[in-house]
Symmetry: C2
Subunit: 336 residues, 2 copies
Amino acid sequence: MAGGGGSREGSGWAAGRWASRSSGRARRGCHEPGLGGPAGRGAGEARLEEAVNRWVLKFYFHEALRAFRGSRYGDFRQIRDIMQALIIRPLGKEHTLSRLLRVMQCLSRIEEGENLDCSFDMEAELTPLESAINVLEVIKTEFTLTEAVIESSRKLVKEAAVIICIKNKEFEFEKASKILKKHMSKDPTTQKLRNDLLNIIREKNLAHPVIQNFSYEAFQQKMLRFLESHLDDAKPYLLTMAKKALKSESAASSTGKEDKQPAPGPVEKPPREPTRQLRNPPTTIGMMTLKAAFKTLSGAQDSEAAFAKLDQKDLVLPTQKEKPDFLEHLTPSTTY
Amino acid sequence: MAGGGGSREGSGWAAGRWASRSSGRARRGCHEPGLGGPAGRGAGEARLEEAVNRWVLKFYFHEALRAFRGSRYGDFRQIRDIMQALIIRPLGKEHTLSRLLRVMQCLSRIEEGENLDCSFDMEAELTPLESAINVLEVIKTEFTLTEAVIESSRKLVKEAAVIICIKNKEFEFEKASKILKKHMSKDPTTQKLRNDLLNIIREKNLAHPVIQNFSYEAFQQKMLRFLESHLDDAKPYLLTMAKKALKSESAASSTGKEDKQPAPGPVEKPPREPTRQLRNPPTTIGMMTLKAAFKTLSGAQDSEAAFAKLDQKDLVLPTQKEKPDFLEHLTPSTTY
């Protein structure tokens, strides 16, 4: 699992970098107070950061769900990465975030489910959806869900975990039957499905309706609705504040006043937002925004050229593809 | 530069991952509206996210400066990583953030300055401090600073860029003289220093006072003060809100009410905070917080064990070293 190990460093490469730190840095490290905790500064300051960290985490979780709901999976992954960087910081009151984080763990695995090249459990070499099955079991315990409540959703994930291997462009029939035997043999609710899939694998029968009628998008949205149904529908504080801010901004039509602060007032409980969102067709407005941001953030010299290069490529997930260009601005690369 | 390329993927590995996406994912990608921009959802929703993104970015920038000021460089890098993930999202009103981002670019390079194994400009193979010199030139232009204002700070960075190579455990004398010739030859303000350093390199004289008296920590703090002096001292909105929230929380001594919202009221301009902070000795309180967070975030089965393993190691930058453990919870690794 060498490649895996490397990439685990990669996925947050700072980790590997600081571990193999130059002695100079290591020495400095020793002088560092405990990360983020009250050690390095007043406990009051630490508590303030913790409070904001929780607000921010709850806001981006809300945005992540919204992106997932709208099938904006590129957005979902970007927001997931923000949350990932955020949960390294001290949060305080972790119990108020545990449900949120479990649901995010489960959705992240489901969103990656089609990608058999990645794993959330390197040691166990699990596919993302096998890992999702495990997270679902944790959710069952922690959310104290009855067997009746979780049954059908767990069956959906097990089915998807097997079908994804069968539909994979490398036709991972062996992996499919391994997952099938591991997760469907003892489960009484999946016996019929188990036999169908066993035959499909034996006959390599990709034309079977179980395979033909399977929609990963539909599966993802079903799982989202299941997980959402076990969360409270409170609107995040920062979203409420932003609505106030934009309202008073447009009211004052203040072109000059940047990031106007919201007109103070009691924070009313907002109505539940629609559980589904219509998908708009792709437009280039997103690109305009990105271009502006890109030019602001990139080195003055080459920003136009760099963006032009970016612009020549097809526009699927432009920021994702070009992420390394952004990354040169704050985080370094290694020259090993 | 193969390793570099790989690690550039690494530094935000999602980028590489989605680029080499399975056709299935690529197909789904095509259906995705433009990332983050108004395309994928109502323009109103996008503007709300942009507003919050700006608030959040300004808050973590403030926290990053505070960490740097307090020599909590591990905290600084963690907060830098949050900002890095954040600037991929649409921000809107980029002009209100450009100064902030330039300063962050410069500080990130300075903070990495001792680490010659990493680079912010892979193509040009620049050391972090050579890169910082370039950012400083951009800052001079964009902040419209006079030669007199920037002169001494630029000299500090050039000096540090050379001395770091000399003091490096591999004694990079060649690299040192290369940087010296490139950045000190034409610069009239550095002629005396240039000659001193040329002799030091020729004689490999590490005992020379210019080397012996050089303190990277002092250099970093001088640069911070220079950069800070060109920023407005407005306290970030989220920090003000958090202070209100904690105040009303302790006032109501509400143990039950989590993340209480601040008592509404006009946001007063806060007094400038002290430009320097005393450093407290390391304590283990940070670890307690981290342990709680770790146990909340990690898989229920092995959290205790995983943390124990973590706990046995020396406690320099624990979260950094263990970041990959956290990363398994939201972001995947690759099994390539």
